[in-house]
Symmetry: C2
Subunit: 240 residues, 2 copies
DNA sequence: CTTGGATTGTGATGCGCGTCACAGGGTCGA
DNA sequence: TCGACCCTGTGACGCGCATCACAATCCAAG
């Protein structure tokens, strides 16, 4: 079945084949059926905003397909990207649980399919399904761990170059097509967005990449990045 | 009863009078008894290390009394303090749940009383006590929220002065003795530690304080800080 | 009271990088 | 095919702050 934005919609969680790979979705049969009863499958185009930091939480969004950008935005327009979320992660979880405002903004960067659950339904669901509650704790652990890494990177790095090196290494270990000595990373982000991920300016990113290229450490191949000298990159990233 | 380090030890969670005020500890009777059966009450002197980032998780530490410093440490010795933990918070929770290494280091800055629970016991306890599991999720929400604030502050601030202003305002809203126009904050931290909280150098903190004092925005009174012009401080902190 | 160690206060210096400004390319729609 | 728009590349300039190097205090312990 095709949705408005060209997605192949997964109709039901009960028959979803991707479920086993996903931390949260792999629930007991009973919990899964309860979840199926309260969730709404929604499709979003690229650039849609799921929620904005500061809003009172309406509920959670389980990302089924597509990618979502999580970011903080300052009043002067400056933006900081916390991470790009992959399918399987639950968004708005922390705020929905605590009732405090969403702490960041979630915006799709692809066409996305999402399972939305209203706050009161979700809280009831958790009370009635202990195993789901445990999964939620696991999800939150991962989120916390992730945020801690960002704090480390932002707070302990000595230079923008160091932060960029760390980011590239992280990508190569997460998304690389192979575990080879020279990993390739598909990269759909602009220099501006990369700058927002490491808290620096666009020009600096451009200059850093130019430098890395000159020193034969990385190389562009269309929209994929080839890391030619992982050791050198590690040296740049080290300490912190 | 007095412990080695001059603490008034709370013998049992079942009779602990502070329980109701604390997010995690306020469990159902059944859960509380189960918890009582697996916890170990431990006392630490000032400067004791509960766990170090990178260690495989041994279990959780519920802070009953005292204060604990959570920090990241880079290989070059540079340190970043994430927060000072107050009683009631559960430490090492995320790592214990996920099995991943502790993401930061926890060190007492007071004599502390702690309830320690071994990892396997704690996980079993959670499986058998759904309400505790929910409390854990709440705790993790708070931790995540907290980490997000730190990311915002580190990543979106334009200057060290801005970060310091934010920190002082946060303290004044959390620890101030009164809600008055000129809040007082007890402050046991050195300039060096404050620098480590906002990711800057000690000298910068000294200079910033000198500046604030000259402009009559803050004022020292022994070990308490008096905020004389909260509006000005807010102006300095704004944006971000 | 004295001494030694931690804490605070200040000047000088230099580099990183944010910011402004503008010049190519690449893409898409009219 | 042309213009509008977004992305990338590069130079110039200047501020913020890390760093080094001491001096001035403060405090606890002998």
């Amino acid at each position: 079945m095709l949705s408005p934005y060209g997605l192949h919609i997964i109709e039901s969680c009960l028959t979803c084949k991707l479920r086993a790979d996903r931390t949260f979705c792999d629930l007991s049969t009973a919990a899964l059926q309860a979840f199926e009863g309260i969730k709404h499958a929604i499709s979003y185009p690229e650039g849609a905003v799921l929620f904005i930091e500061g809003q009172t939480p309406r509920g959670i969004f389980v990302l089924c397909q597509g990618q979502v950008k999580l970011s903080f935005c300052a009043r002067d327009g400056k933006t900081l990207i916390l991470k790009i979320v992959e399918p399987g992660e639950v968004l708005g979880l922390s705020a929905t649980l605590s009732g405090k405002p969403y702490e960041l903004t979630a915006e799709t960067i692809d066409p996305c399919q999402v399972s939305f659950v209203k706050r009161e339904n979700f809280l009831r669901f958790l009370k009635e399904n202990p195993d789901a509650c445990f999964k939620v704790a696991e999800q939150l652990s991962n989120k916390y761990d992730n945020a801690c890494h960002e704090v480390r990177s932002l707070g302990l790095s000595h230079s923008a170059g160091q932060k960029l090196a760390k980011l590239l290494l992280e990508w190569s270990s997460r998304h690389a097509e192979s575990k080879k000595v020279e990993p390739r990373v598909r990269l759909a982000l602009t220099h501006d967005e990369i700058a927002q991920m490491i808290g620096t300016s666009r020009e600096t990113v451009t200059r850093l990449f130019a430098n890395l290229k000159k020193r034969q450490i990385v190389q562009w191949d269309g929209s994929t990045l080839l890391i030619r000298n992982k050791a050198a990159l590690k040296a740049l990233a080290s300490n912190g």
